[in-house]
Amino acid sequence: MNFNPKHILGIKDLSAAEIHFILDSAASFKEINSRQIKKVPTLRGKTIVNLFFEASTRTRTSFEIAGKRLSADTINISASSSSVVKGETLEDTAKNIEAMHPDIIVMRHSASGACDYLAQRLKCSVINAGDGTHEHPSQALLDVFTIRQHKEKIEGLTVTIAGDVTHSRVVRSNIYCLTKLGAKVRVAGPRTMLPPGLEKLGCEVYTDLREAIRDVDCIMMLRIQRERQGKTLIPSLREYARFYGLNPENIKLAKPDVIVLHPGPMNRGVEISSQVADGPHNVILDQVENGVAVRMALLYLVSGGEPLQQN
């Protein structure tokens, strides 16, 4: 197939075939990460700007390593989300960077839709590294890549995503990604953390974690975003841990070979107990490892030019 995207803004726009193509490409790039010389010249001469309006060590580092292993020049810019307050608009900030001719801008921003906004206004490629509480496509792709690694296929699996759905950018991307590939998705959390109309995205909604994880193949625990938390969604982390934390007891309700994913960083003892986080079901570090390969694939795929006429 020919998959030549200009931007990667969200999973919603991708077809199942395109997602598989990305995952297959990532599998090829993964081999590089285990070499002694972890570098290929694929994107030599390309410039990638990691434009992060929100702190994110993990995602930024992963994209940076991915770019460097492909021999691209990667530059990190930590901009303040309050550029509007300072008088510079997002468009101006981005256009200033574009004037230096980067090939790809990888962007994280606190506003949902910020990447779509930029993609409409810039000539270079834009990869969404998380926009507000909208999408986080590279995270979903690495999650699904990790699940595929352990379960061989996605079709027919049942996956539970549990936690603070309201503040999560991972959930939407993962629901799209998993359902497009034929998995059943359950979403679980207290009602205060479940935005209305979730089921319209193609998932089943649960308020009881124990019910939600019964007989499932994979559990994806969402981070309780302390920094995003208003005061009203849950009374305390202690109570949250009791009813919505994954622990050695309730995990027994899932299939014996269940795998546990977490986008990180984890709040041990809140959404996930240490026994589970360090236990035999966890594939959390595989996710991190696979993240680099998936992001290499995304950087590679957006940086092709127009196909030549067949000679």
């Binding site: 090829s28 081999e31 290929v40 694929t42 590679y300 092709g304 196909p307």
Partner: protein
């Protein structure tokens, strides 16, 4: 636009060429010690397996064989649009080895340049040699094969097609005149 297809080598011709290359590899390297075969995906990888089998028939030794995908090392990615990247599968150390790169058709030499870079990124071989089924000329880089199945002068707008069966065994080679 009609394409004229001319058979260059038939099944017997291909087999004879591969057998001869296997003999030449053994002869030049005075045996198979430290020898490894690396086929360039996809055609070269199929041929590499055939050469591995023939060396085994002659010397009763299975030399290590791996395949390499050179997409990531191409110099024309930006203008090619998107090529699917294949997997490199080399499960042995290359340090100090005599590497024989195998490909089906040698043309500009750019693929071989990319393959040599890829091999060098994987280790430090003692030497790299090149085995080719068809050398069609038109080199753009100073690259010369060590083992050649058949030299075939072509014009630039012609194409060479190596036909493989379902088991990836070469059946015949055609010249396509466009």
């Amino acid at each position: 636009m009609s394409t004229e297809s001319v058979e260059i080598l038939d099944l017997d011709g291909v087999n004879r060429a591969l057998t001869r290359i296997a003999h030449e590899i053994i002869e030049k390297n005075k045996g198979v010690e430290n020898l490894v075969l690396i086929g360039i995906r996809t055609g070269g990888a199929y041929l590499g397996e055939q050469i591995q089998r023939r060396i085994n028939d002659i010397e009763s030794v299975t030399v290590p064989f791996g395949s390499i995908d050179i997409t990531m090392y191409r110099d024309d990615l930006a203008s090619r649009g998107h090529l699917a990247v294949g997997q490199t599968d080399i499960r042995f150390n290359l340090d100090g080895k005599r590497v024989v790169l195998v490909d089906d058709v040698l043309f500009t030499g750019r693929t071989i340049r990319a393959a040599m870079d890829a091999v060098m990124d994987l280790g430090r071989p003692q030497s790299i040699q090149l085995a080719i089924l068809i050398d069609r000329g038109h080199r753009e880089l100073p690259i010369r094969p060590d083992y050649v199945g058949r030299n075939l002068p072509t014009s630039r707008n012609e194409q060479i097609k190596v036909d493989f069966d379902e088991q990836n065994i070469p059946r015949a080679i055609y010249l396509l005149k466009g």
